[in-house]
Amino acid sequence: MRAVAIFKAVTKNWIRSRSGLFFSILFPVLLLIVFGAIFSGVGGSSSSNLFVQNLDRIGADGEPSNLSNAFIEALNATKLFSIRNVPSDANATSYARDALGPLGGNIRILIISNGFQEDLLNGTFKVRVGITYSTLNTTYYYFEPYMNDTEKVAFQQELVEIEKYEQSLPDRQTSLTLILDSSDQSAAVIKNVVASIANAFNYELIGAENVIQFNESSVTTTHFSNVDFYIPGITAAFIMTNGIIALTANTTEFKRRGIIKRLSITPLRKMDWIIGNVLSQTLLNLMLTAIMIGLGWLIFSVRVIPDALSLVLIVLGSIMFSGIGMLLSGLVKDVEAASAVGNAIAFPMMFLSGVYFPLEIMPSYIQSIAKVLPLTYFADGLRYAMIYKYPEGIYTNMAIVAVLAVGFIIIGSLMTRWKEK
């Protein structure tokens, strides 16, 4: 009950604070609207030009391969691009430059390499042979006790044959080349979308039961708009800032003004105080998510859907970042220092965790840094839960966030001083 009283009081205090409301809700909403307006085509802006040169030709008449065509259709179905074909024998850059003319805008070219389909299928075939070998090996392990010697020998020979065959298959990887103008403001978004479609192809080809059905599967992914991709990222980023900046500053302010000391003189336990604050943060973050998605629906017709797993992730994220906020407020004494420390941690994390730009396009050292940042896993988890609906991606990230949440809330509560020295 005491925790509920704290939750009510802290939440009311926050809701009535204009600056709190602005930075926690309004600012992320404005950011979403700005990003959405720039990248969604709202307001009459048409889709982005994308030149595609398909070098993957098969047969004597040089027809494009089925998979390369499917990839282009998938890009087309996003409705983000106005796709213009580049003849296979042309210099793609010169062609695009000529086609756009002197004021034609940024050059964006995707080159699908020769052998795209074959490499993709061979690569997939090798993976599938590997899976077959692994499955038979496991079967042998479990059923060996029930086999006679002849059966065992025959089985082992088969396994050896399959393994040899797998090793004989070449390692095939196919590549896509994306040429973008360095000054192109939309470059990050275009890379993000192309990378997402390529990921969907990888996933379907390697993990799906029916590779041939891949084209249909990939279509479901491509219904999402650019803003759909931004909503989980921006939401995750501001759940992080609510914990690391706002909660740190508020708690430090409460501490400075003796409010926490006043409460600690009552029978209120430290754990009640922490639970009350975490509940308040969770409510705030759920409100933020609802408002972001609601506005996305209204203005940008987004299709992103928060399911139960997304909500669980938001609760875990709220706990994790509240824990970090409490840890920081235990370390700093004054409000100015709390804001400075909060900003110094939150803003780099926001830009290094793949929230606004896909990590794939970043240098490898930044990708390494991203791996140790909690926001990376939280944002990835939310994206998987809200967009890709990819269970492994959801549960892996959720597990990491859950472990971090427990760890940080324990450290945060240890750092919350309930007694003077």
Binding site: K12, R262, I265, P267
Partner: protein
Amino acid sequence: MIELKNHVFQFSLHIMLKFICVRCSFSLPDGARMSKAVVEVDSLLKQYGNLRAVDGVSFEVYEGEVFAFLGPNGAGKTTTVEILECIRPLTSGTAKVFGYDVTKKDDVREIKRRIGVLPQEFSALDKLTVKENIDLIGDMYEKHLDVAEVIKLLDLEDKTKERFENLSGGLKQRVGVAASLVSDPQLIFLDEPTTGLDPKARREVWTVIENLKKLQKTVFLTTHYMEEAQMLADRIAIIDKGKIVAIGPPQDLISEHGGLKVLVIRKGDKKLADILQGKYGQTILNGNGDVLVKVDDVNELWQVVATLTEMKVKKDIEIQTPTIEDVFLKVVGGRITEEGELRQ
């Protein structure tokens, strides 16, 4: 006419002296000492490295009394109080509140249930109203008084829906007192309740403290204002550099340490000063032209007045009695500034 004036003066003086005598013999604390001790502190020490913030203090606070801890900033007042409020650990010694030991976890829970606290520089959640802030503190206790009643008691009814951030300093302190009362505590700690307030707001808080006394609450007041301690407290402990240097009822302290009463003859002259010096000694002419005669007791006072009557001195006369400030000056060797700093 002059005689009549002198008679009136003597009559007034007589009444005044009688009043002083009554005040002197009005030993509230004797009664208090018969009461149960709600706070018992023995050889309490709080040490930070080599610094002894509280240096072996021992005292008791009795049920129903207003006990003032008087001292400059850094004397150890708040440290002592926070040890008693169970939010600061002690280094050694014992401290008990209602017989419960402040160092024992189970006892701490019992103490926290029974005390109300107005911390130094009380603050609350800015965006919450007066009622919501008092409600919040009330909700921390298993049982609490009707918040509306507490608000009425503190005369805050007009401000119930006002946000805390919009209140004046005096009103904020009243909210703090209301929050400290909402759990219906038997003992209330008021830590520097009037520091930083303007005179009007300070008087408002004094009225509140007087009302607490009428409600038979035990009040533990810390202050650096002499006047406040003298006016409100039944007993005063003067603390300096972590040590209690004097403790007792204000009048006892004044009698013991305050020095002599002074008869002041306004706009006197050197001749008068010399005559009085010759007869009674301890007479000076100060820079304002006032003649000051220190008197040992009431008899001597009467004698001086009689001498003045005989000399037909037509001057304004007043008696200056020593105050707690004089006591403080004597036992600590300095004065406390408005900001609470000790000035030697």
